[in-house]
């Protein structure tokens, strides 16, 4: 089981900010997880599309498509940050 978090514009577009997910077999990286989530439907396909400017973190560290994901991880997807 992993915890998935979505923030800001992404949270609103997907209609959820947090969910638990059993990591599907064969999904071992952030890039693979993103591609998997993109198959969930229209909003997901749009927001998770490869060309979409999206950032992610694994266990609260900035991550890239190659970052390994394992059971128990906290994975967050969010738009580019705009603080300060």
């Amino acid at each position: 089981m992993i915890t998935l978090l979505y923030f800001a514009r992404l949270r609103e577009a997907l209609g959820t900010g947090r969910e638990q997910l059993v990591l599907p077999a064969g999904i071992g990286t952030l890039g693979a997880l993103r591609a998997h989530l993109a198959q969930r439907g229209e909003a997901w396909a749009k927001e998770m599309a490869a060309g979409r400017n999206l950032r992610a973190a694994v266990n609260q560290d900035i991550a890239t498509a190659d970052t390994v994901i394992k059971d128990g991880d906290e994975v967050a997807f969010f738009p580019p940050v705009t603080g300060g």
Partner: protein
């Protein structure tokens, strides 16, 4: 070194006084205060709501301060970032850096702010007469952070 993410306002004078109190090694303190503007992208802004990623936010800012400490002499540093709903003229963010001399204090303060803008997980949503909108990340902010790369 201290990082605080909070809804309530902060008192710049009190924070400056607290930092220099009892540390005679400090010869320079640089500070930056970010403030909510009433106009953004040509539209008037009534209020702004700041969302963040609790846990990662504090961690990301602490790491930015650590990087600054690796590059300049930083005797002490404080970052306070507000979240929740703010209005024009409200303070959003405070960065204070104490050093022996001004050069390091100025540079470290600017570095922390530039990196915070591009690395710390905060998102702004503005309420304008045209409705609510999420603020887009700026290319100029990425460029500001990139110039510190060695």
């Amino acid at each position: 070194m201290s990082v605080r993410v909070q809804e309530q306002d902060f008192d710049v004078s009190a924070e400056l006084a607290l930092m220099r109190k009892g540390n005679p090694k400090i010869g320079a303190i640089a500070s930056f205060v970010g403030v909510v503007r009433d106009i953004n992208e040509g539209d008037s802004v009534a209020t702004m709501t700041l969302e963040h990623y609790p846990g990662m936010t504090e961690k990301a800012i602490s790491e930015i301060i650590d990087q600054a400490r690796g590059r300049w002499e930083v005797l002490d540093a404080l970052v306070i970032h507000r979240v929740g709903t703010l209005k024009p003229t409200d303070q959003i963010v405070l960065v204070i850096v104490a050093s022996t001399h001004r050069g390091d204090a100025f540079a470290a303060c600017e570095f922390i702010m530039d990196y915070l803008k591009t690395q710390a997980p905060f998102w702004k949503k503005e309420i304008t007469p045209q409705g609510a909108r999420w603020v887009d990340a700026r290319v100029t902010d990425d460029k500001a952070a990139e110039r510190w790369k060695v």
